[in-house]
Subunit: 172 residues, 4 copies
């Protein structure tokens, strides 16, 4: 019983790409994806909490297909962890959250991302990763979108694309 609790509390972090991870490729002059920055950011943050890490895909969330979302769902199902942070593009974060919300896992799953790639001077990525690492440990089972310093239920959130902010929405 104690063991079960310990296992459930384990933190798993899943990289899927998104603005958070975008890297400037100096040969092509374009923003591309490379290795995830998450492990080095967690080291920079001097996180002593044990966690596991996995890259499921490295995509702009506008390019994500249903099959990609199913792979993310599968990764959540396969992980023994009860606490899961998914770093995801902001444009379809809500869609992936819905796929996970409908799966009704007995886990706490949070999605976060960034408006500015983490390699930039003034990125919000590190704040958001910290916010997610804190909130995932404390939220009850369920699926949440964490952006702009706020916790949103997966059923009641939308991205206001014009302002670049997440806000509450009517339940779908």
């Amino acid at each position: 019983m104690l063991l079960l609790t310990v296992v459930e509390m384990t933190l798993h972090i899943i990289a899927t790409g998104g603005t958070f991870e975008k890297h400037y490729d100096e040969i092509s002059g374009r923003l591309v994806f490379g290795e995830s920055h998450i492990p080095s950011l967690m080291k920079r943050a001097r996180v002593s909490l044990p966690y596991t890490f996995e890259t499921v895909c490295m995509l702009d969330s506008l390019d994500m297909q249903e099959s990609d979302r199913l792979k993310i769902r599968e990764a959540c199902a396969m992980s023994p962890a009860g606490k899961i942070v998914i770093v995801h593009g902001t444009d379809t974060m809500r869609e992936t959250a819905a796929v996970l919300g409908k799966a009704a896992f007995q886990k706490t799953i949070v999605l976060t991302g960034a408006m500015i790639p983490c390699e930039f001077d003034h990125s919000d990525a590190l704040f958001n990763l910290g916010f997610a690492t804190g909130a995932v440990q404390l939220l009850p089972n369920g699926v949440y979108v964490l952006m702009n310093g706020r916790v949103f239920d997966w059923e009641r959130v939308r991205k206001n694309r014009r302002e670049g902010l997440f806000e509450e929405a009517d339940k779908r």
Copy 2:
């Protein structure tokens, strides 16, 4: 009743100095304190949650006197907010947490800081501020120390100075 709840959920952030805030003074060649960096970091993080901000002192926590801790306690008492984040030096974070813990406020008060000043390339400050902003919204009333990606009860934490990490300690 609803109003009361809203008021209680308001977030208040208190700057007290610490490594988090240290600024390099190019004339003296020393690390000094200036204006708090917190408001600009919250803006960088695109936080849309309303919050108030106050600077109580700007001190290395090794230089804090009992009178400074009482001023911090007073600031917590005076704020109408039910959720308080205190950015504090790491060396005596535990001592200030104890002063606040013993005051038994009906509020959630979290203390965080940084091992590397936020002006440095590889600082943990922004992660910790994000962690605190998330955790303070979700923790029950009480006083907590948040460092290294973990939530510590104020009665069960110590800084391991040799390793520069916070860790659990026996209850005092």
Copy 3:
């Protein structure tokens, strides 16, 4: 006579865009151009040398037309300065350098740029701006491309696009 010398030594900096200046637009998720970063970088560098600054265009150098190069040539002609730094995209830096070289100004004109936008953590932009600010003061009249820590004559340089490095080329 003395006045003439002083006038000729004046430094003029011309922004034209290029990777150096690219800015991440969080609404569109694309790299775009905004205000030039050069004045704030010169301030950051604590440059006490007097200089004037002008933005001629804000373009990816692959999008530059002959008319844009003529505007840059005009700006060089109109400036009373004898020392001119042009911050330019790397892809057609050589073409603009040729337009300026053929104009045979009695001035020292240097072109530099960056492989990584200056807003990125690991950009070469600030180094290159420093290199150009130093070299332009010391080079004899002529047109030069300054990249990768080297001084290239405008007639003997090409960008090796595969490696992302400038190198010497046969005289054209």
Copy 4:
């Protein structure tokens, strides 16, 4: 003859410490010296010019003794390079420059440094390293102090400590 020219043009970079190199030690909470940052900055700047690198000491220039300056002079004498960049603390840069100036090497030797350590967000270090890498290739034999975007003769420079700027001084 050709070989001699090539040898003379070789660039040698000497680290001696100074604000440029200061590193924040998270255990002691103080600015200390570690490994030189110069090799990684030169890599970041994508410098393709060949150069050699040496650390002679790692000191705050206020702590430099005459014996340290003699070691720097010895390093300049021993290097086969005709172009030498010395990264040095600003407070006694002038004193070391005088030791080197009086040695009357048939070399171009430039001293630069930084007002803000290179690990800080808004440091001038990378600009100054770029400035020095450009200027050293173009200046005639002699000893120069390069700060604030300007070239100073070693005999005619002083640091204005109140303003944190280098300025011309009467010849000593």
